[in-house]
Structures are given as C-alpha cells and as structure tokens.
C-alpha cells in the first residue's frame, strides 16, 4: 500500500510546551487508521499539522509523495486532504446545501451540473437531503456532525481526517455516524479517525495508533494495540485492567 498521507519526524512546540516529539505517521491509500490516547497526547495537534492548520517546528508532511510541509490548508484540501473538526464548524449563516456547495466548488473544483450532482449526492449519503435548505445554525449536534462530514466528503478527498466526530452523541447516534463513515470506506477514501469511543472505532479501522505525551507509543492491528501493556497503562488504565 503506497502512503497517501505521510508525516515524518513531526515535532511541534508552543513556547515551552512540547506537544509532538518526532512523530512518524503514515496512511496507505484506502486505509482506515484510528488514533487513540489520553487528553493532551497531541492527537488533534497531529491532525492540525497534517491538515496544514499549523506548521510543525520540525519534520515533513507528504501527500501522495509530494512534500506539502509549507502548503496552506486550502492547497492541501485541493490535493485531497479533507477535514472534519472536533467541534463542528458550520457556516451558520448559509444553508446546509450552500455549506456543501463551498466544499464542492472550491475543494473539488466542480462547476455547473457536476457541482450540483456532487452536492445532492453527498447530502443524500449523509442523510441531510431533507434539511438542505435550512440555515446551518438551526441544526442540532448530530446534524451538525453529519454536515461536517458531508462538507469534508464534498471536497472529493483521498483521505479524510476525522476528529472525535462521535463525541457527545448517544450510542445510537454514534452508530448512525459509523455507518456513514463505513459508506465512505466503501469508496476508496482513506480515513484517519481520532476517537475516544474505542468500541466504535475498532468497528471501522484497519490499524490503530496510540499516542501519549506527544509520541506514538503503539501502532498496529487494533486488537494487538489494545492488548499492549504500555497502552493499557497510558490510556485504557484501570477500566480495562
């Protein structure tokens, strides 16, 4: 599997705070990778670095082999990196459809009928067709999360970065979201998914990465990682033992 997204030697520091230390991270084409770890482990920062929202203090990021360490987030998006934020960030003053139109026209570069098709398809995939003409700020949490995913998919990504999209949802709602993400997988979009709800995560991912204090402490087949003594100690703690 050739890597679609690759970070090597990534370090990030804010003043005295070392958030990432020499992190190596790759995602193969069409692969689904979960990231777990305690709060403050550097998971969201890693996503920020991969998406280009922040520039790492050391290390390189490559998309399909191309060095994009200095590229802006919008350039990375057009190269195929889609992103869903931890707290949904809908364009509140626009309708659900218009939110998706921004992504399809700028992220995927579509115009005219192709744009129209893409927007309608993505809305249907994410179960938002009925709400298409509502202002995004009127949506509840589950629908905001779906919109976050829909916008991300409308950019026509080769890899999507999902940050705790299950947080704050009931089990039933999380299950719905999982089926939406699984549908994403059936295309050959790669997935990087940070999630605390581990049992949800393992239903979808091929590989699990565990982070702690800015480092990768385990990386491999999900069950193996969850059984790792270091992971149990750092993250799963007493609940699993």
């Amino acid at each position: 599997m050739s890597p679609i997204l690759e970070g090597s030697g990534l370090s990030m520091r804010y003043g005295d705070l070392q958030v990432l230390t020499g992190v190596d991270f790759t995602v193969g084409e069409g692969e689904a990778v979960g990231i777990v770890g305690p709060n403050g482990a550097g998971k969201t920062t890693l996503l920020n670095v991969l998406a280009g929202a922040v520039r790492p203090t050391a290390g390189t990021v490559r998309i399909a082999g191309r060095d994009v360490t200095r590229a802006r987030p919008d350039q990375r998006c057009r190269l195929g990196v889609g992103r869903a934020f931890q707290v949904p960030r809908p364009f509140g003053g626009m309708t659900v459809l218009e939110n998706v139109v921004v992504a399809a026209s700028y992220g995927a570069g579509l115009r005219g009928p192709a744009l129209s098709r893409q927007a309608a398809d993505v809305l249907e995939e994410c179960g938002l067709t009925e709400l298409a003409n509502r202002r995004a700020e009127s949506l509840g949490l589950l629908h905001r999360k779906r919109l976050e995913l829909a916008r991300c998919l409308a950019t026509g990504p080769r890899v999507v970065l999902l940050d705790e999209i299950g947080a704050g949802l009931t089990d039933a709602e999380a299950a719905e979201l999982v089926s939406a993400v699984r549908q994403v997988r059936s295309g050959d979009i790669a997935i990087v998914w940070i999630e605390h709800i581990v049992h949800v995560l393992v239903q979808v991912v091929d590989r699990l990465v565990c982070m702690d204090t800015g480092r990768v402490i385990a990386d491999g087949e999900p069950q193996a990682v969850l059984g790792d003594a270091v992971v149990i100690d750092a993250y799963l703690g007493k609940a699993a033992s």
Binding site: A51, A53, R72, P73, D74, Q75, C77, R78, R83, F85, R89, P90, F91, G92, G93, M94, T95, L97, E98, N99, V101, V102, A103, S105, Y106, G107, A108, G109, R111, L115, S116, R117, A119, A120, D121, L123, E124, E125, T129, A132, N133, R151, C152, A154, T155
Partner: protein, 330 residues
C-alpha cells in the same frame, strides 16, 4: 443515486423581485426630471450613504474585516477630486478618477493592513485614516486645515448641477450594487460568506482566503473613495477633520448593523433608515447622537441580524438569485 434532486439558483420569486429592483433603479433615475432641487440633493445624500453602507458590509459583513478607518478612502476620494480639479480635470471626470485612485490606494495598503486580524485591523485602518488626514491638513495647496471648495461646478446652473451630481451618485450606487451582486452570484459568493462565518473552516474546504479578502478590500476602497468624492460634489466644500472623521465609520457601522450585517438587502434598508433618522432628528444635536447609539446597542442586543432578518426569516423565498436551493428534479 440522487437523480430526483437538483440544485436551483433562481425561481419565479427571485425573478420577480430582481425585476422590481431594476424597476426601482429606473424610476430613481427619472427623479430630477420632476422634483424640487432639495429633494434631489437629499436623495444624493441618501445614495452616498447607501454606497458607504454597502461597502462597509462588503468588508465587515462578508470579509470579516471590521474597519473603523474607511474614512481614509472617503477623505482620499474627496481630496483627490479637489487635486485633480485644480489640475484642470473636469470636476465630474475628477470624481470618477478619484474613485479609481482610491482603489489604487487600497491595493497599496492591502499588503500592510490585511496582515492584521480583528482588533488590530480595526485600529490599523483608523491609524491610516488619521495619518492621511494629517498629511492633507499640512498641505496648503489643498486648503490646509481650514477646508477647500471644489471649483469647476459653479459654472453649471444649480438645478442641473444637482441633477448631474445625483445621476452620477446613483450611477455609482447601482454599479456597486451590481458588482456586489455579481460577487455573490458567482462562486466567490459562497466562499466570501463562508469566510464571514468561519475563516479557518473555509480554508480547510479549499477556499483560498487572501485573494478574496484583497478583492473585498479594494472594492470597498473604490466605493468609499467614490462616496467621498460624491459627498464633495454634493456639498462643494470639505474640511479634513470632517471628511476624514471617524464619525463616517460610526454611521457605516450603524447602517449595516441595524439593517442586517452580511446580507445584500440589509445595508440598503439600514441606509434608508439612517437617512430618515438623520433628517428628522439631527436638529437635536447631542441627543440625536445618543439616540443613534442607543438604537445601535438595542439592535446588537436584541436583533443582532438586523431589520432584514425579520423579513428574511418569514419569506419562504429569497429576493435575489444569489443562493442555492435543493429542489426535486423535473
């Protein structure tokens, strides 16, 4: 899979209301033919206020660029007109050239000011305005601190002069409204509204922020320059303290907040309301200003999306075909 759904941009309602907009425009052009001179002059004032409101909305409402220094361009436009007229350029041509010169000024200032964010940007623009005011006040050719008159228009019969000024002002207002409409109608429209709501999220969806902000800043510079030049053509006399005064920013803020920030129709509504308030209550001096402030605060607290939101939330359609709607196909 979604063959039964399609994205539409206009319907019968938007076509009718767009037609009404055009009709109102045509009617407004005929005003000087039938009305008293003071009405024409008043409407000229309304049009300049309208231009300012629409331009400030473009900046703050769509670009998220809250400027309290647009008076830099208003003053620059007015003084550029004076300067060009002194060089012998016909006055009305000078107005047009001054607006273009203001756009050039915006191009020059953009690399400096657009680096700044939020409050820094607001203060930065104000500093630029004050600096320009000082430069002008130091120039004796331009009348120094005591003010200067626009020469070249006094040879025209007053009624015709007012009519010409009105037509030119209305022309600018229509031109700028059309430009903003096109900006919203094209794909940039969705992008600038996305920037308005969440810049970082817009960037993560592939929107390149800087060129769009640059375009908005230059458009606003052009429009505010035109408003300043036209204010001069309407009043024939200006002083640096008033034409570069921060009160313009307060007025623009008022019109846009009260009308409805980030909407096409809001600033138009806000400009008309502000014009009427000014006309009815300006004689009360300080109390008038206190009243304006109170109204602005009340809107910020209780109706933050402005007057237009009252209509917008109730109408089942949009007035202008600038949005996107999902409809069943066929």
């Amino acid at each position: 899979m979604s063959e039964q759904w399609t994205v539409k941009r206009s319907g019968r309602a938007t076509r009718i209301s767009s037609g009404v907009f055009v009709l109102i425009g045509i009617v407004l052009f005929t005003v000087p033919l039938g009305f008293r001179a003071d009405v024409v002059q008043q409407l000229t004032t309304l049009c300049t206020l309208l231009i300012m409101a629409v331009m400030w909305n473009v900046l703050a409402g769509y670009g998220g660029l809250v400027s309290v220094g647009q008076q830099a361009f208003i003053g620059f436009g007015a003084y550029a007109t004076v300067y060009l007229a002194q060089l012998g350029v016909p006055a009305y041509l000078a107005v047009v050239l001054a607006a273009l010169a203001s756009a050039v000024l915006a191009v020059a200032l953009a690399p400096l000011l657009l680096r700044l964010r939020g409050g820094q940007f607001a203060v930065g623009t104000w500093v630029v305005a004050e600096a320009l005011a000082l430069l002008v006040a130091l120039d004796h050719e331009l009348g120094g601190g005591t003010g200067v008159s626009l020469r070249g228009l006094n040879t025209i019969a007053p009624d015709w002069r007012r009519a010409y000024t009105y037509w030119l002002t209305l022309g600018f207002a229509v031109l700028l409204l059309v430009l903003v409409f096109l900006l919203l109608r094209r794909r940039s429209g969705a992008a600038i509204q996305a920037i308005r709501d969440d810049e970082e999220a817009a960037a993560s969806l592939g929107v390149r922020i800087m060129p769009l902000k640059f375009m908005l800043f230059v458009l606003a510079g052009f429009g505010c320059g035109a408003a300043g030049a036209l204010t001069l053509a309407n009043t024939l006399f200006i002083q640096p303290q008033s034409i570069f005064g921060v009160q313009w920013s307060a007025y623009m803020l008022f019109m846009v907040l009260v009308g409805g920030i980030g909407t096409y129709e809001g600033p138009i509504l806000g400009a008309i309301l502000f014009f009427l308030l000014q006309d009815w209550f300006a004689q009360y001096g300080a109390w008038y200003l206190i009243g304006l402030g109170a109204v602005a605060i009340a809107f910020a607290l209780f109706l933050p999306r402005g007057l237009w939101s009252l209509a917008d939330d109730r109408l089942p359609f949009r007035l202008l075909p600038v949005g996107y709607t999902l409809r069943p196909a066929g």
